[in-house]
Amino acid sequence: MDKKVKSIRGFMQEVSEKTHGLFISFLILAVLLIISAIFIPKVFQLKNLENLLRTYAPGGIVAVGLSLVILTGEIDVSVGAIMTLAMAVAAKIYDFSEPAAIAAICATGIGTGFLNGLLITKTKVPSLMLTIGTTSVFNGLAAILVKAQKKYITDIYEITLSVAKGSILGIPIPLLVCLVLAILFQFILRKTSFGKHIYYTGTNKRAAWMSGVNIDRVKIICFMASGLLAAVAALLLSGQLGSSTVQLGTGYDVTAISIAVLGGISLKGGKGTVIGTLLGFITMSLMQNMLAIAQFGTYVSTTLKGVMIVLVVYLYGLTAKRKE
């Protein structure tokens, strides 16, 4: 019996090694799909799928950006605060001109990401520590800017609304943005030297530094990408909600980390793929939607989300080959 368990584990380890951990993500997604097909077939109505992927897409976009940072072995818990700050800055500019506001959103995202990256690489403070501090700073700054007021995204702001609520060929634009970005990042990670540098930095930063990788630059660029994506997500989210408050991004940091983890990205860095994150995002949104349709309510859904995260990471730990 023991031998059998071992051989199953060995098989799982081999498969997951070959597929870069994607196997587990697919497995979990498949299990969820089968469960929902048997018990809650309503999930597969086209309208529902479209809505659910549109609603949860901002979380997915943030997670895709955050994946890059986690792959370099750092972490950024300030993405939620960056979302809030980006919309707060935009709220000031929206009345003058909408394109300028959208440009400001992107600029804020890149700027805050750059600030995080710069502080972390120059002072060598652990990123979790520093980004806890900057979370407070950004949240405070956002509230100071708009005096904690709500900004309504009304029908005047056509670009924002059409991006957040529109569809191309029946696919919601937020989902499309998420897909395109994930595939783009996956391409960069796999096919370019910069992508390799990200993996080297995450796996062993000392070795990477010694072989001439400019790890500071790699980290700063990853933080900037993560900031930019958080800001884009904020734009799409507030477009969907029709308003932006100073609570906009609260909780999205933890959601994004959970999604990345569900997709098989190791918090130690250097392990995982952005496609995995995409699968994690689909899994997470599908699960929440299933529980909502089965009328479990948010309370049970929160609990199960927690249990699920722990369980999945435990599974990943089982299938990873130990090098001890």
Binding site: G133, S258, Y299, V300
Partner: protein, 343 residues
């Protein structure tokens, strides 16, 4: 400037940075308002210090063994709530009637306290098993448990608040004051703090904890059961979260699941300001106590200045970043002396 250039004074300033910050805060507070040293205000500061400080000590202990615990905030409010409903269930089974009626709790306080501590310790134990036995990284495991515990709290309380005003003796631990100024919970906090400072600085306990955090592999090669010590720290942090929960519930005399959202981040921030390192094995609990005092004074002074809550968030964030950088600077200096190149 000549004083600052002198190395001796510089060292003193660096070592006593938190005391200086506290002093500065007190002086600024005194200048800004004549009521700063009034009895009531002191009580408020000490109360804030006790609540956050207790959680910060819990967090620091876990950080010292190179792990992290993000459940303490939610554990501090869900465990009393669960305890009350557990008591209710027990009373119902033994035909003694209900102790929760219309949101009002009438159970005896000692039952609630005992169950609260038990449940909080159990949450700590769950964390410990997940992290040490199942090898789930602490950051993810505790986020997961945080979600789970929040959800359970909501399921059990159905999202409605509980009121404790009818419980006899409820106000003692959170509301009673010694000599009209010092809250009892602050004394409790000091006792806990002194106990752990003593344990960490002068006993085998501290040696084991610091070596486990400093370098887990070499510690286990030296014969220290590092897994056991990590589990132990998670359980202690759970217990301390439970004690905080008792104090907090007693002070507010009500429980609502959302009321401690984000407290774990504040605790983490205090630990950072106090110079505990996230990589484990570096830091001193004395500084955590000082840091919690400083943060309490800071928030009080900012309120005195007429800062709104979001201005306070901003300034607190700046201080966290500042202290993190200063602590890291001195650590970098140490590494430089050891000829270790930081990457």
């Amino acid at each position: 400037m000549s004083i600052l250039k002198n190395n001796k004074y510089k060292n003193i300033i660096r070592k006593q940075m938190l005391w200086l910050a506290i002093m500065l805060g007190l002086i600024i507070g005194r200048i800004l308002s004549p009521y700063f040293f009034a009895g009531n205000n002191i009580t408020v500061i000490l109360y804030t210090c006790a609540i956050y400080g207790m959680l910060a000590i819990a967090e620091s202990l876990v950080l010292l063994v190179a792990e992290i615990d993000l459940t303490i905030g939610i554990s501090a409010v869900v465990s009393p709530a669960l305890a009350i409903y557990l008591t209710n269930a027990i009373y119902k089974v033994s035909n003694n009637g209900e102790v929760v009626r219309g949101g009002y709790v009438t159970a005896p306080w000692w039952v609630i306290v005992a169950f609260t501590l038990l449940i909080a310790t159990l949450i700590g134990l769950v964390n410990a098993i997940l992290v040490v036995k199942c090898r789930v990284p602490a950051f993810v495991a505790t986020i997961g448990v945080q979600y789970a515990v929040t959800g359970i709290g909501y399921i059990v309380t159905k999202g409605t608040p509980l009121f404790m005003t009818k419980v006899q003796g409820v106000a003692f631990i959170g509301g009673a004051k010694l000599a009209g100024v010092i809250p009892v919970c602050f004394i409790l906090f000091l006792l806990v703090a002194i106990m752990f400072i003593y344990l960490c600085s002068s006993t085998k306990f501290g040696m084991r904890v610091y070596s486990t955090g400093g370098n887990t592999k070499s510690a286990s090669l030296c014969g220290i059961n590092t897994g056991k010590w990590k589990m132990f720290m998670f359980i202690i942090s759970g217990l301390l979260a439970g004690i905080t929960g008792v104090v907090f519930t007693s002070k507010l005399q009500s429980i609502d699941v959302t009321q401690t959202t984000g407290y774990e981040m504040t605790a983490l921030a205090i630990a950072i300001v106090g110079g505990i390192e996230l990589n484990g094995g570096v830091g001193n609990l004395k500084n955590t106590v000082k840091a919690s005092m400083f943060m309490a004074i800071l928030s009080n002074v900012l309120s005195m200045l007429g800062f709104l809550s979001y201005h306070q968030t901003f300034v607190t964030g700046l201080f966290i970043v500042l202290f993190a950088i200063i602590h890291k600077k001195s650590d970098s200096k140490r590494l430089k002396e050891l000829n270790i190149v930081e990457v």
